[in-house]
Symmetry: C2
């Protein structure tokens, strides 16, 4: 089934041998038989560590399904998530030997991976993959900067609302729907992962979700399934101006 994400030029990935609803962000659009020759698929369980910060980097590839996180840890154990990897996002980078962050599977994750040496050699021969990587990296940079605004200046309540907006939009994009009133989706993150994302503690995350529920901004069914009765109200709670919304 063909897929089109709005800001990315990703297409379906017909040659991928496994069943998945998402996009292999390189195989599809690149149309390079050479990529097929060096790719394999790997699956990780929720909680598995895909790569450790500071260790030699072994994996280059893109997320086919599931959610993974990038995070860094301070000396005393405080942790901050610095990247959220959703289907079609790229993991690892070429020509770098050491992984800069911990990469952890937040749900079951399937990756389309490439042998690093072969991948680097291919980059040297086929420049137009580099153009695509540049665009993807610029998108990530924009997302990182919106995230910095959130971390530096938003209240706990605004942070939670912003995260719900992001997940709702990505989820809608994945199913090629518009976000609007009454949208429902499942949170792909535990309370702990949300806290790491937002620079909060799990208690504060829990309290603020409860507060938004009591205020009627969100409806929770169980602990992970969310319905947004009025998307405009959620946007108001997120603290963003008109539509300078969070990218990615």
């Amino acid at each position: 089934m063909p897929q089109t994400a709005p800001t990315r030029t990703a297409q379906s990935c017909p040659q991928c041998p496994i069943r998945h609803s998402a996009v292999c962000s390189l195989c599809g659009p690149s149309e390079l038989a050479e990529l097929d020759a060096i790719k394999t698929y790997q699956t990780f369980q929720a909680g598995d560590v895909i790569a450790w910060a500071g260790e030699p980097q072994t994996i280059v590839g893109s997320v086919v399904s599931g959610v993974a996180t990038l995070s860094r840890t301070l000396a005393d154990g405080r942790r901050q998530m610095v990247g959220l990897l959703l289907p079609s996002d790229f993991i690892g980078r070429s020509r770098t030997q050491v992984a800069p962050y911990d990469v952890t599977a937040a749900t079951e994750v399937t990756l389309c991976t490439f042998r690093k040496r072969a991948f680097d050699e291919m980059l040297d021969r086929t420049m137009h993959i580099e153009r695509r990587l540049l665009q993807m990296t610029l998108d990530e940079l924009d997302a990182a900067r919106e995230w910095m605004l959130l971390l530096g200046r938003k209240t706990a309540r605004e942070k939670i609302a912003s995260l719900l907006v992001i997940v709702a939009r990505r989820d809608a994009a994945l199913h090629r729907r518009e976000v609007g009133n009454g949208v429902s989706f499942r949170l792909p993150l535990t309370r702990e992962a949300m806290a790491d994302y937002l620079g909060l503690t799990i208690e504060t995350v829990s309290r603020q979700i409860s507060a938004l529920r009591k205020a009627g901004v969100v409806e929770m069914h169980g602990t992970r399934d969310v319905t947004i009765p009025d998307f405009g109200r959620l946007l108001d709670e997120s603290g963003d101006d008109a539509d300078g919304g969070i990218v990615s």
Copy 2:
């Protein structure tokens, strides 16, 4: 005089017609006569706005001297700096019509700018500029992520110490010295800009600098000139582990 930044492959820029101690990050290494044909120089005073978020993007180019900032503002006026542009950093991006952030001169700034349309056309013809832009963007992304760790998890005191470490390192790199005990440098930012950078208020910035001064970690001469008697102690205060130091 030739310049070499450690993590970037920048070189001197002999053909630039103006006197500057820093690097034109594209003209130099690209060795493209075509770039010369479409470049001009522009100077801005401290406080000048170089581009407004949401307005059509007019400028593409790199910082030759001075310091500029990228920032975003929430609806109620809270502001967060999301990028710090030092000599050799690139401003603007190709193939994007709308500027994503406010760009402001923090000191007097000189830019080496290119006509946007001509620059985009050149990118289409000469792929290897794209490779260089990719590397620069990846460096920026790394810096943004270290910054997220700072914003999300560091205390005010650690934030100030981290900023001093960053400025000391960039300053040392610019003069091809090693950072070490007794280094001195001048802060290129006002207290307000530091607060925007760190997600703090100016009062807290001022208090924490005073605290570090009283603790003997830094010496201040006037309000902008800093000496670090013991760089290791400053590093300890920054909260970073061993040497996972802040990139860029």
